[in-house]
């Protein structure tokens, strides 16, 4: 039986201070996500409207980490 992935795709809807973003997931919910260190180091700029992949927190359903720009 497959497990629900903790990764989901979405669209950046708002950029917030300290490398935080609000992301609307394709599945519906809005999550607060910070950018993963490994992509921040490459100076990837994220803008409103960018499609990203988010790794969701297993602890806090409203939070995640942006791991990939699609």
């Amino acid at each position: 039986m497959p497990e629900r992935s903790r990764r989901a795709a979405g669209v950046v809807t708002e950029t917030l201070p300290s490398a935080m973003y609000r992301v609307r997931l394709d599945e519906g919910p809005l999550v607060l996500a910070h950018i993963a260190d490994r992509i921040d180091r490459n100076f990837v700029r994220l803008l409103v409207g960018d499609r990203v992949r988010v790794e969701l927190s297993p602890v806090d359903v409203g939070r995640g980490r942006i791991v990939e720009k699609l």
Partner: protein, 257 residues
């Protein structure tokens, strides 16, 4: 944390795996036009309980049945029902899991009901091939994402697509353990495979686009574009000699035609 199993534990997992393989072999023999998915579910539950094992799915986050039976555009987690009748030309994915002596086995195949379209037959063949290509990548020192990469490479070459929202998983004393095993991605990423790890590798492949949605029952995942979807799964242990398919059977069944 990813648990590595001892040789004795792997033997127990093989016993659980053999049981689900035997059950699935029997179910595959029953698949025919006119059969309901609830009938298949009843046989599976009876066989699992007769062997002294426990159906793994029943009660899992409230799932109501022993098997998942997903027809045509249903990707996974189809709930068996007395009103769902298999028709000639359908494809049906049957997923079975059981725990025996505290250890889990998890296994799925997609079967053709009677004669199916050429597209459906190709989808079944390619998805099953992608599972075995993924299993070939299971070796000590390899990486988790090598598995998904092998699946994605193979199925996308045929114009099919990989479901992202659901993934394979570690398995052992619980059905879902660390790590998650996606069926897509770049190779050489994620945790390294070590001797004794056990993974449920399960490509879910759509004939059309990758997007899926979950229906109002909270379980059944269907393709958003209504295209056909196939799903094959084995429970595989990482050993020094390479992959050990714990859910292997003596006589292969499946969608080869």
């Amino acid at each position: 944390m990813i648990v590595c199993r001892s040789a004795a534990e792997l033997e127990k997992m093989r016993a659980a795996g053999r049981l689900v393989a035997d059950v699935l072999t029997e179910l595959a023999g029953l698949v025919a036009p006119g059969v309901t998915t609830a009938a298949l579910d009843a046989v599976a539950e009876e066989r699992i309980r007769a062997a002294g094992a426990i159906p793994a799915f029943k009660g899992y986050h409230g799932y109501p049945a022993t098997i998942c039976a997903s027809i045509n555009e249903e990707v996974i987690h189809g709930i068996p029902s007395g009103r769902r009748i298999l028709n000639e030309g359908d494809i049906v994915s049957i997923d079975v899991g059981a725990s025996l002596d505290g250890y889990y086995g998890d296994h799925a195949v997609t079967l053709a009901v009677g004669l199916v379209s050429e597209q459906a037959a190709t989808l079944l063949r390619v998805t099953e091939e992608s599972l075995y290509k993924a299993i070939e990548r299971v070796r000590v020192g390899g990486r988790i994402s090598d598995i998904g990469h092998a699946v994605q490479q193979h199925v996308e070459a045929y114009g099919f697509s990989v479901v992202r929202e659901f993934v394979g998983h570690g398995i052992g004393q619980r059905m879902h353990e660390e790590p998650q095993v996606p069926n897509y991605g770049e190779p050489g990423r994620g945790p390294r495979l070590a001797e004794g790890m056990v993974l449920a590798i399960e490509p879910m492949v759509n004939a059309g686009k990758p997007a899926v949605k979950v229906l109002g029952d909270g379980w059944t995942a269907v393709t958003r574009d209504g295209s056909l979807s196939a799903h094959f799964e084995h429970t595989v242990a990482v050993t020094a000699d390479g992959p050990w398919i714990l859910t292997a059977r003596e006589v292969p069944v499946g969608a080869r035609r």
